[in-house]
Symmetry: C2
Subunit: 465 residues, 2 copies
């Protein structure tokens, strides 16, 4: 039943936008928080979206924008305070245009990443952003969080794949800036300001997205390396040989392989033992080159330089999928094992190996734990996750958890790294940002928030605590 304030607000909304306040609107994947909501509204177009936000601004009701709900930092749920309106983009589903001759697509916020990728493929192009939750994650959320994934090394984050946006600002104004231009220097970059603002400065309702040609030759290999340092030297060689053709360069640890064996014994692994470190490399090359031959050449060069000790190069599309499947199942295996704490960190490339070494040594002194360190090594982005020692449970580490994460973030920041590489700040890391962020930058962020959202209705508590 609605309370009086919600009833008043509901009457001011466009007809038919309200949805039932169902449980699904109040959840986030890790179950850390349960959200609250007075109303759930799902506008059908940008005008309805603007009307909803205008009504909320007038009523001083908070708005929590919601895409696919796959975010891992609690940006999509407000767990306390006066109950907000949850603004779901689920009905803004149009792919307004696909322009392969421009390498551009215009999609509304509620389009899933997978649907956007499929639409690009149907036009003979790719939308290169790719991440585990792409079947559920939506374009609006992907942009609002500046999502990353496995192809950032070559194609950039979500931000790099967006030419223009349509958005509703916090007082209900519609900003129409759906440009399809590669060059446009006409004023402040509000597009990039809203991208990554996690719904605190407005709601992105549609975007012009960058498509890319599909490289003629695609190849994937999994190579055994001695150490993260060797992996990084191999990356440098790959970049030098491939002229920008390295699409993905992922690190996998022996611990990750052991977790996979335990959680998914049927998943075929290419190496009989569990090497300490592997890299999965994908390349995309021009016509006239064999990708498999190029990877074999890299393997030989890496072996001669003492960087690579073993490896497999996929010889078919099926083998490509099999190798990627290993990488993609790591987060699922992690979930089955149950992490003590997860860290989505990035480091300058030359600091990665030192961090892995020092953090490992420090953790060894803190107690018995297992580390699964994996991720987008080519971007300096590691998922550095801690697990209970064999035979122990997550709960055994409850007292340590916060302290461990805090110290790991401290070590990352000390090396010029980031405590949130691709997941964003949300509510989970708002205190980290307050602690580790440059104070002048934080003050400027607050001034901008105050200027654009004077009533403070947009996703309060996210990003800026």
């Amino acid at each position: 039943m609605l309370n009086a304030a919600d009833e008043t607000l509901a009457r001011r909304l466009p007809e038919g936008v309200l949805r039932e306040v169902a449980e699904g609107y109040l959840e986030e994947p890790r179950g850390r928080w349960r959200g609250i909501a007075g109303l759930v509204a799902a506008p059908r177009d940008v005008e309805e979206c603007a009307a909803v936000i205008r009504a909320c601004a007038e009523a001083r009701v908070a708005v929590v924008p919601r895409g696919g709900g796959t975010g891992l930092v609690g940006g999509q749920v407000m767990p306390g305070g006066p109950a907000p309106l949850v603004l779901s983009l689920e009905r803004m589903l149009a792919i307004r245009d696909v322009l392969p001759e421009e390498d551009v697509m215009i999609a509304e916020a509620g389009v899933t990443l997978q649907a956007a990728r499929d639409a690009a493929a149907a036009a003979g192009r790719q939308f290169p952003l790719s991440l585990a939750s792409q079947g559920t994650a939506q374009i609006g959320g992907v942009l609002s969080t500046n999502a990353g994934g496995v192809n950032v090394l070559r194609y950039g984050n979500a931000r790099a794949l967006c030419l223009g946006i349509e958005a509703v600002l916090p007082q209900g104004q519609v900003m129409r800036d759906l440009k399809r231009l590669r060059k446009d220097n006409t004023g402040y970059d509000l597009r990039d300001l809203l991208i990554g603002a996690e719904g605190t400065l407005g709601v992105i309702t549609a975007a012009s997205l960058v498509l890319a040609p599909i490289p003629a030759e695609r190849g994937v290999a999994m190579l055994v390396v001695d150490s993260p340092d060797a992996a990084l030297h191999l990356l440098a060689r790959a970049k030098a040989r491939m002229a920008g053709g390295v699409t993905a360069f992922e690190l996998i640890s022996g611990q990750g392989l052991r977790f996979l064996r335990q959680a998914m014994p049927d998943l075929r692994q290419p190496f009989a033992d569990c090497p300490d470190w592997l890299v999965l490399i994908e390349i995309g090359l021009p016509e006239g080159l064999s990708a498999a031959a190029a990877l074999e050449g890299l393997f030989v060069a890496g072996s001669e330089a003492g960087l690579v000790s073993d490896g497999v190069v996929a010889q078919s599309a099926r083998e490509v999928d099999d190798l990627w499947s290993l990488r993609e199942h790591i987060p699922l295996a992690n979930r089955q094992i149950g992490a003590i704490a997860s860290h989505d960190i990035s480091l300058p490339l030359s600091e990665v190996a030192g961090f892995i070494r020092d953090a490992g040594a420090w953790l060894a002194a803190q107690g018995d734990m297992r580390i699964n360190c994996f991720g987008h090594l080519g971007d300096g982005n590691l998922h550095f996750n801690l697990f209970p020692a064999e035979g122990r449970s997550r709960a055994d580490y409850d007292d340590q958890r916060a302290g461990l994460s805090h110290h790991i973030h401290r070590m990352v920041v000390a090396r010029g790294g980031s405590f949130s590489a691709e997941h964003g700040v949300g509510r989970l890391k708002a205190r980290d940002l307050a602690e580790w962020g440059d104070p002048v930058r934080l003050a400027a962020m607050r001034a901008i928030k105050q200027a654009l959202d004077p009533a403070g209705i947009m996703n309060p508590g996210a990003v800026l605590a």
Copy 2:
């Protein structure tokens, strides 16, 4: 001699930062405006820069930041009002770090683009931003104006080549955000907000820049095409074949070739006649492919498809330079001929050919003129410049100039294009922005300007009129 206000301000500045108010600080390349200045200050480091801006904020004296002074829209000169302090970055010349293993360089604002490119080359890498004024243009200015140039197609604008900045905000606060990270989602994107803000939101004092590997195989060709439309079809084919390997794709018109013959008769042209349309294409490919062979393959495919009628592929580094030299001399020839009006516009790729056709038809009806349309076709960025008919002078068109430019900008905007693709807004196009910009976006820009620069001291009159 200083007036009383300048004397008071001068006493509050760090010792030794003042320079003589020399003519060079008051000029811009096209001679459209002459700036004024009460003082010229050239800080040696970020702390001195902050002290200068703090003193100006307290004294309510405007600050006009100045890099190499090569900007074409008057962003670097204040022609009227209370005399500002010109803040020259000329003494912030350190390249603080070159990290080839990370593909990163940290350079201060006063480093010339050429010096940055040389430092990258000395480390076996490239800093891919390249433009005509690179010997004089400085990193700070290049970022503040989000400069473009000939390699944007592959490597992006200045914005895409910057990972982090150090900047002084309008109240003299130092924002330290010189990150070297490919992924960092910790709050609002103030870096991209300051990039392209043309000194109106603060002064960039140093930046972490992205380096790129030098492709193993470089090739350049000049191909004769029937029309801009044929050129764009050829571009699509080149992109599909080269897997991201197209570095530059420049359009040259027959008019441009005729101006070159007239102004620089010694410059060797590869074609005996002056074809109506040429493209200059540069590619960079992985090891194992011959770039010349790839270009010959493109030539054959383009010929078979009826897109290309003639062409030359450079067979040596010398021939590469010769072909580029033709393209690079076009602006110099233009200057000798003397333009009625110049337009730095961009269009969605699928609107380029229609615009060239329609704008040409409209101009033909306005009187006798010559059009030199050239530029970065791969980015949809044209320099669409108008010249007097043979035997007539610029002055004959004085009455028409403003009206011609206004209508051309109207045609561009109607096709979803930009009236400033790579040069910025400055003072020249502040009224265009007010007229053509989305009003909601403009209001948000003003709110941000007010929030970050409440005293309005940073480069007043630029961008926001």
